[in-house]
Subunit: 158 residues, 2 copies
């Protein structure tokens, strides 16, 4: 693992994502790291992140997969340049589509483990696949189509 997470290299002025922005004090502050050809992330749900008593709600799982995937895409694209992560800020990726298969209920009183990898590169898009496990068991699988953020994406808000 690198000392800093992928999300620590997002430009400060737009690092406000509720899922992964280091500047969002209310949010999850997901941290993604590289391990070989895969990315990993760990997350401890809060007791109130329930779907049913004892289990994590699907929206949190979707959020974790989404932000872990866009972080994987942004840093994978940067790594293609051959420069070490952290030399420059990352170009952000946005989510075009998100698909999650909930294969088993996800227990809440444990750390969730995410693993991501680049499945496909097509121009400015990348397809990222992610698995989520709890207590050593895979409980969700996701696939995200992420797009390198167009220059005019934020319009007048940037």
């Amino acid at each position: 693992m690198t000392a800093k997470a992928v999300q620590d290299y997002y430009p400060d002025d737009i690092a406000v994502c509720y899922g992964c922005g280091k500047s969002n004090k209310h949010g999850y502050q997901i941290k993604t790291y590289w391990e070989g050809d895969e990315t990993v992330s760990r997350f401890q749900p809060q007791p109130y992140h329930t779907a049913f008593p004892g289990y994590v709600y699907g929206g949190l799982i979707a959020s974790l997969i989404d932000c872990h995937a866009t972080g994987t895409a942004a840093s994978a694209r940067y790594r293609e340049s051959g420069k070490p992560l952290g030399k420059e800020m990352l170009e952000r990726f946005v989510t075009v589509s998100l698909h999650v298969d909930y294969v088993a209920p996800t227990p809440i009183n444990t750390i969730l483990h995410l693993r991501g990898r680049v499945k496909e590169r097509k121009g400015r898009k990348m397809v990222i696949s992610v698995t989520l496990s709890a207590d050593g068991k895979e409980t969700a699988r996701g696939e995200v189509v992420a797009l390198q953020m167009p220059a005019d994406f934020l319009g007048e808000n940037k």
Copy 2:
């Protein structure tokens, strides 16, 4: 619209979903209503539910679509019995898969409008399609495969 929302007819002891549980004080408490053959829901994001400055993060959109869809499925199944909503508690549906297409950035300083409909019925499963709009513009489309909760789903937690 009915006086009470679909989610008000979920049994109290399992109404703890962060997305739509009436007993989860931390959560979104999404409320779904029927209008003819469609379900509708409205949600005002908090200022910190950002993806980028001015826009809603994708995880919230996924959560809203997910809970609105499972509420649509549970109440659609109950309506098949011909009884008026509210006569009995609803049988819960769980999410098998969730797909979201993010077709445009979703502005944060406005009320989000969701519309759902039953696309397909197959045994204990239903496929629900949902659209999400902001300021009159559709910004996301979702499809959820929902399953009537198996009796043993909650195991020892119920």
